[in-house]
């Protein structure tokens, strides 16, 4: 069910929502959080689909904000309009200063400010309820006060920018209200530079989905190192798709947590993360996706490791499974003691799975902040030839 509201108010939206609940015999309970989605119209439907899929695990109220142009007025000057709502300046085009009974100037609605909205319910909203807000004009500069009346009482707020994030999520008016701020730099036109910008402002309450993509890999690698033989770690190599953010983050994580040098090997043929190889005193621990299709071995010469490490590396091979889709979900684990590599199911994670993990975890992620704030060189990128 979809209800469209033109030139509406937050009060009308709330009361329509409440009426819908009553008429459908539902009580607005069990909404565990409010998920704010901020994106342009072109990314909206895909983002809502992801949110709907996630809603079966995390029933929430979704408020999608699709900001219209903040200055559709004929002659509004950007800077002037922006400055205007901080310190009202008389004479700014599109802005009226109204003198109330006292002599305190009051900024009135700019005439072009308008709120259109849409409420989606039931089959159109998964297990959640969706409010789409399309603010125009000056409203665009006040998104926080726009959504405050619509947030589910006494529950955490999560904000997700499925495409371009703000310059500093934690200082963004919507970001400031949120317990968790989710970005997805890989969807932006220039993922690397977006990501580097996010690194500089990162806090434990921010997270980029390129980090979430790594959870299963990190879990397997961490528990792989628990296996015998135990010996000090020396260095590591991370192989993966050219300029893939998750590859970079994997290297940064190992380097930050284990305090060892980590080399990145870019591989144009890889789809995402391809291999992680940790050199230890007693041999190599490897988790690799190498398959026949693009089974390329990385060099294993650094740090003068034993020949045993070399042997285990060459013994990694693809499964006999014919189905490519199955191969893609598999990885192979090899430790200095293992006779043959062991297969482990390591499916590529979907955006839904990643979002779901974020909504399931609302505590600050200190490790993420530590990794992106570390002195790891995030400027490394594939520049045509391998180092």
């Amino acid at each position: 069910m979809i209800v469209t509201l033109t030139n509406t108010s937050t009060r009308e939206i709330s009361s329509r929502l409440e009426t819908l609940h009553i008429h459908r015999g539902e009580v607005a309970q069990g909404r565990v959080l409010t998920l704010l989605i901020v994106c342009p119209q072109k990314d909206l439907e895909a983002a809502l689909r992801t949110a709907n899929e996630t809603s079966w695990e995390h029933p929430c109220r979704v408020i999608a904000i699709v900001p219209g142009s903040s200055k559709p007025v004929v002659n509004a000057k950007d800077e002037a309009a922006d400055a205007a709502h901080i310190s009202p300046v008389a004479g700014t085009p599109g802005l009226e200063i109204v003198h109330a009974a006292g002599d305190k100037p009051v900024t009135a609605f700019r005439q072009d400010s308008q709120l259109d909205a849409e409420i989606r319910f039931g089959a159109d909203a998964g297990a959640s309820e969706i409010i789409i807000l399309r603010p125009k004009g000056e409203l665009v500069d006040h998104l926080n006060t726009l959504v405050i009346p619509l947030i589910v009482a006494d529950t955490p707020v999560v904000v997700w920018w499925p495409s371009t994030p703000p310059t500093n999520p934690s200082k963004d008016p919507l970001g400031k209200m949120a317990a968790v701020r989710i970005t997805d730099a890989s969807t932006t036109p220039n993922p690397m530079s977006t990501f580097r910008a996010l690194c500089t402002t990162a806090t434990p309450q921010d997270v980029d989905l390129s980090w979430t993509h790594l959870t299963l890999w990190r879990a397997q690698i961490m528990s792989m190192l628990d296996q015998q033989p135990h010996s000090p770690v020396i260095s590591a190599e991370v192989t993966g798709q050219n300029n893939n953010l998750s590859v970079l983050l994997m290297a940064a994580w190992i380097s930050t947590e284990a305090h060892i040098p980590v080399t990145i090997v870019w591989d144009a043929n890889a789809a995402g993360l391809e291999e992680v190889r940790i050199h230890c005193q007693k041999g190599d621990f490897v988790l690799s996706r190498h398959t026949k299709a693009h089974g390329k071995q990385s060099d294993n010469t650094s740090d003068g490791n034993s020949s045993k490490a070399g042997k285990s590396s060459s013994s990694i091979k693809s499964s006999d499974s014919d189905e490519k889709s199955v191969c893609d979900e598999q990885a192979w684990m090899c430790t200095p003691n293992s006779a043959t590599p062991q297969m482990v199911s390591l499916p590529h994670r979907t955006r839904t799975e990643c979002l779901s993990e974020e909504l399931g975890r609302l505590y600050p992620d200190k490790v993420w902040a530590r990794v992106v704030k570390s002195d790891f060189n995030f400027d490394q990128k594939f520049v045509g030839t391998k180092e």
Binding site: T215, D226, S345, R361
Partner: protein, 511 residues
């Protein structure tokens, strides 16, 4: 760092809360692999664990059974059953990960050679899969087979672990049929396994709501202050099944509802409901509090008045006509086994003195439900007319264990309108609403805990013995009372159970 210093995994970070606990390399050897439990619960739970990424790649699974099966046949058979009942989506890659480590060992329990073969299979698997020689023996078999299996395992050297590797054994209820047999069983198992490596599964303790009972009680200010005899009138713990005994006649007859359910599940639930707060959630301290409260349990003097038992009679259960217990296949017409049992217990300590705990369980009851209800005393004074409060009963907090896991708070509220009328209403917290997050099946959680070596959710020998001490005198009394009273299938039990409550001026809840 040198070899003698304890190994610290440089990637393990206590702040890294995203990373799940993954079991280390190991093999599970499943005895009774073709049984109901293995097919419907254990194999799917193992698959689901793997699918959630909680099992290592070097994991092995050996089925031990009588059938003349090859490894491949067993693997395909297992796959079929997993596909039928797994909770997470079936994923071919996950199955492939498991399938590489699946073996079948053919043999009977009395065949020494079979255990020698098992030991070879195990060694090969250890080598091929690099499972580090860690073995968990899951004895999903009747307790009568424990002694011989334990003996065979010991004889073939399977209970000996090489340095750095662990051996664990998992056993299912029943843990004996009285104190004496429980102690004998314990001696059998401890003669070949270290007491710390024995894991007794009570799958109720793996359920989210049961763990939440502790979370609720010990993480909130709201409940603990009223969790005592100043405010609580009595406690009702119910586990009702709508099923009959099905094909379990051989096991069930002679055991009965009290031994089958009260001795383990209900007494455990009572212990968790009534215990004081543990110092922390280590196995030792949780066990300490449970044992303390169980040792304070006292039986009523007159067992005839304060216990009840029954047998389901032929009748209609929902839309289905069902046979009575005595007509079930394999049950003699003179069977004295109860399919319904209700008992009243006292807990003699400061917190609970004077508060009765009523425990009941039965088969072929109105519906399938398990719950713990804390029923509070009436308000000391009601400043309303008697008419205004005639629909108002005592306040209750109900922990719904299954189905629809959650918590209900029951209290009086004014009925909208021009007159003052107070009626009871429910305030619900439902797991399904707030965390639809696919909560793991109890067996998943428990198997993972065994593999990780984390025992807080498993009852200890002492707890088992204490609960037999509670139940034994009741069983002894019932043995002198002849055949249990009949109750129509699909109802809430025999008349004597209602009379037992009426005698205390109380009534069973309608769950």
């Amino acid at each position: 760092m040198n070899d003698s210093a304890p190994w610290v995994n440089p990637l393990r970070d206590p702040d890294d809360l995203r990373l799940p606990r993954i079991a280390g390399p190991c093999t599970i050897i499943l005895f009774g692999v073709t049984g109901d439990l293995a097919r419907k619960k254990l194999l799917p739970a193992i698959y689901d664990l793997a699918n959630r990424g909680l099992l290592p790649p070097n994991f092995g699974l050996i089925g031990f059974g009588r059938r003349d099966w090859s490894d491949e046949y067993f693997a395909n058979w297992a796959k079929e059953h997993v596909q039928k009942t797994c909770r997470t989506p079936f994923r071919e890659s996950t199955w492939n990960q498991l399938a590489g480590g699946i073996r079948f060992a053919k043999g009977t329990f009395d065949d020494t050679q079979a255990f020698v073969n098992l030991s070879h299979t195990l060694n090969d698997l250890d080598r091929e899969r690099n499972t580090h020689g860690n073995h968990a023996f899951y004895l999903s078999i009747p307790p009568s087979a424990f002694p011989i299996v334990a003996q065979q395992l010991a004889k073939s050297g399977l209970t000996q672990s090489r340095q750095g590797a662990w051996r664990r054994v998992i056993i299912e209820k029943p843990f004996g049929h009285d104190l004496q047999s429980a102690e004998a069983l314990d001696r059998t198992i401890t003669s070949v396994f270290d007491p710390d490596s024995i894991f007794r599964i009570d799958h109720y303790l793996g359920k989210e709501t049961v763990q939440n009972l502790m979370a609720m009680r010990f993480s909130n200010m709201l409940f603990e202050p009223i969790w005592n005899n100043h405010y609580v009138d009595h406690v009702q713990i119910t586990m009702a099944e709508d099923m009959g005994i099905g094909s379990r006649a051989g096991y069930y007859d002679g055991i009965g509802a009290a031994r089958d359910v009260i001795q383990n599940h209900l007494i455990q639930l009572m212990a968790i409901t009534a215990m004081d707060e543990p110092v922390d959630f280590t196995a030792r301290n949780v066990h300490y509090e449970k044992a303390k409260v169980l040792s304070a349990v006292r039986l009523p003097k007159n067992l005839a008045l304060h216990t009840a038992r029954g047998q389901y009679a032929e009748g209609w259960q929902g839309q289905e006509h069902v046979p009575g217990y005595l007509q079930e296949e394999g049950i003699g017409p003179d069977s004295h086994t109860e399919t319904y049992a209700a008992i009243k217990l006292w807990i003699d300590n400061w917190r609970w003195a004077g508060v009765p705990f009523y425990l009941r369980t039965g088969k072929r009851l109105g519906k399938r439900v398990t719950e713990i209800a804390i029923v509070f005393k009436p308000a000391p004074h009601l400043p309303f007319t008697a008419n205004a409060t005639q629909e108002h009963g005592p306040n209750e907090i109900v922990f719904r264990i299954q189905p629809d896991e959650g918590i209900t708070l029951r209290f009086g509220s004014k009925v909208p309108g021009s007159t003052m009328e107070v009626r009871d209403v429910n305030m619900d917290f439902s797991y399904g609403n707030s965390f639809t997050e696919a909560s793991p099946e109890a067996y998943e959680r428990l198997i993972l805990d065994v593999l990780l070596g984390e025992p807080p959710l498993f009852p200890t020998t002492e707890e088992v013995n204490l609960s037999w001490k509670i139940l034994d005198p009741i069983e002894k009394f019932w043995a002198t009372q002849g055949q249990p009273e009949q109750y129509p299938s699909g109802t809430w039990g025999p008349k004597s159970a209602d009379e037992m409550m009426a005698h205390d001026h109380r009534a069973w809840r309608l769950p």
